[in-house]
Symmetry: C2
Subunit: 386 residues, 2 copies
């Protein structure tokens, strides 16, 4: 297997893009990546698209062929990978494997989702399709309600108060305020968090990430063929995926993201690093409870102690384990199937030293973790600057 490097990245601001169809969103990100890499578009050999809801919300399946044609790549191999909100990183992993195995040299990965203009379709109902349709959604559980049950149990079991979660939201918004591509570019205070409207008790509006229309793209290429040109090379040091039961009540332990733990452990082994060597962590903070559980699953905190990292100010760009450095799902936004690719684009920016006002000082090894469902499908990547 060959080492895989990053040849180019592209993204569009996450927003309500009323004037653009899903092909335009994906195309804009893809063309930005192609332009940044200074390659001929026709050099791209295959396309892997991460997307969750194009069929349900946009009445458009087969988006990979659509996008390939739209960006001038008619004829190339193209497919869509779906793993609910983990679709973006799942697509990146497929593209990475195509390059690593030698099937292709130059591969384009695009994550895209168009969620805010859906012709009257109920987006909340379709987001619940990430949960177990027969045993969770059928009982009226929305996706936020499911996470509220997990958060409620966490508060009960470990003795935290709701406002102990505030630092996750405050850090994410502080970082998002400095990211021109973020959906919510405004800092918030502890007081804002305490006053936020309740969505599904105990999850309030500032515990929950916003949906949006967005697309991000990454070009992959064999590391051995990259010309350095004085620039650092960013490579994929690890890529690992794991699953758990979709239904939360089926898990052996609802307070433990077993698939996150498994995929992180596999990734650490592949990259030959320990959690202490990870310089920053783009985690899947769809809800603040997920941030805490992810930190615990990946070995940054003990069971039930994830919130402590926030309270001790260790998750900011200057902290011990910076998270959501460009706003995270909470403030950068969560266009579900695109999110995993945004996370990876942001890891690459940090490793290149392009983190802007939220640059993590001296970042050399970054981790991104993308979660489909409330912990059902988890894909972890570790990237490094060489």
């Amino acid at each position: 297997m060959r080492k895989v490097a990053i040849l180019g990245i592209g993204q569009i601001p996450i927003d309500e893009h009323w004037e653009k169809s899903i092909r335009h969103l994906a195309g804009d990100a893809a063309i930005a990546a192609i332009a940044e890499a200074h390659i001929e578009p026709t050099a791209v050999e295959s396309l892997y698209v991460g997307n969750m809801l194009s069929g349900a919300l946009n009445k458009q399946e087969n988006v990979s062929a659509l996008i390939a044609d739209w960006v001038g790549l008619r004829g190339i191999e193209a497919s869509k990978i779906e793993a609910a909100c983990g679709s973006g990183a799942a697509a990146f992993r497929s593209g990475m494997m195509a390059v690593a195995s030698g099937v292709n040299d130059l591969v384009l990965v695009v994550g895209v989702e168009k969620m805010t203009e859906t012709g009257g379709t109920n987006t909340t109902s379709h987001l619940a399709s990430a949960a177990d349709a027969d045993h969770e959604a059928a009982h009226g559980l929305s996706f936020v309600a499911l996470n509220a049950l997990i958060m409620r149990r966490y508060l009960h079991e470990f003795g935290w108060k709701h406002n102990d979660f505030a630092p996750f939201s405050i850090n994410a918004h502080a970082n998002g305020a400095k990211n021109p591509n973020a959906r919510l570019q405004e800092a918030i205070t502890q007081k804002d968090y305490l006053r936020a409207r309740m969505v599904a008790d105990p999850i309030n509006l500032l515990d929950a990430s916003p949906i949006g229309d967005g697309a991000a793209a990454i070009l992959l290429y064999p590391a051995e063929k990259i010309r350095r040109n004085g620039q650092p090379i960013i490579t994929v040091a690890a890529s690992a995926a794991a699953t758990d039961s979709i239904a939360v009540h089926d898990r052996f332990d609802a307070m433990r993201l077993a698939a996150a733990e498994t995929s992180a452990q596999k990734a650490y082994a592949q990259a030959n690093v320990t959690p202490s060597e990870i310089d920053f962590f783009e985690l899947h903070d769809a809800f603040s409870i997920m941030a805490a559980l992810s930190l615990e699953a990946c070995g940054f905190a003990e069971r039930g102690q994830g919130v402590r990292l926030g309270l001790e100010n260790q998750i900011t760009p200057q902290g011990r384990i910076p998270v959501a450095t460009r706003g995270g799902l909470k403030a950068r936004g969560h266009p579900v199937g695109a999110t995993g690719v945004y996370q990876l684009v942001e890891v690459i920016q940090q490793l290149r030293g392009q983190g802007g006002d939220t640059q993590v000082p001296g970042a050399k090894i970054g981790m991104a973790q993308n979660i489909g469902g409330s912990g059902a499908t988890v894909i972890t990547h570790i990237l490094q600057r060489e």
Copy 2:
């Protein structure tokens, strides 16, 4: 890249399975494949699911994690590949690449679709999501109407009559009548074809394939590790994918399936064979016009002459290029995202000599071609007996 072999196959009859959810359909096929291979289920390392409409019709995304857990494989890597009606073969190709590259040894591929019980959702409308949502479906074109336009043009351009297409349907039904897993197990006559109710002129009911609930599964393993035990080994000699524009009016030539041609040419090159060496061809006869165009694109007939193969009786199991040997999409049925895996299971059955009453005599090299949209995404596989 390692040569990949077949370790086991499973399928369920295509039907209206009112008592089964999508997990049960997929699970039944997967467990059949695992049982046939005589392996411990826990030996399976990853799962690739081909499915198109679970989100739209079953309100269930993230089906790969759901299925993995249901069949006792909780924790393994799992993802869903979607390429409209080409999803099944696209998933097989992903699984094949995982084994060929050495990422995994033992991989499970499942194609599944549940279409007949959809809580009031309009299946025809969701099938149209395989077409261009903005420029075809938005104008009211259903998927059958789109194929009717293509067939109408074909009749006009090449001077055939509608009933010249009858042999495709008659052959498919004759073969399906002898396949216990087929949706339609009844032979038809030329008279039946002529009298069939019109659906979208010139496509009548016997030009069109039936939807259904179905699932098929294949276990893949490195050829070098297979123990022969006196049985023939079936290997994947070629796997190739290509795309075209989704919208038919955007194509350079609406009478030519360019992606089918490209992927077939790539497959022939990989397998080092010519069309004349292919013993039988499981083609994507979603509509009879697609059978004719596929035969032409893959080099079995000249442009505009695909129907001649039927009229000259060359497509039956005893003919020069048998097609739809177990009923094809037309009679075996077309549970859209599962179809590509059914095709491959049937190729494997023929190569093993398990083709039953429609066995192709001396079959050694078989080809399967799965099409997403009206020619937008095409995946071609060539398998052989060693």
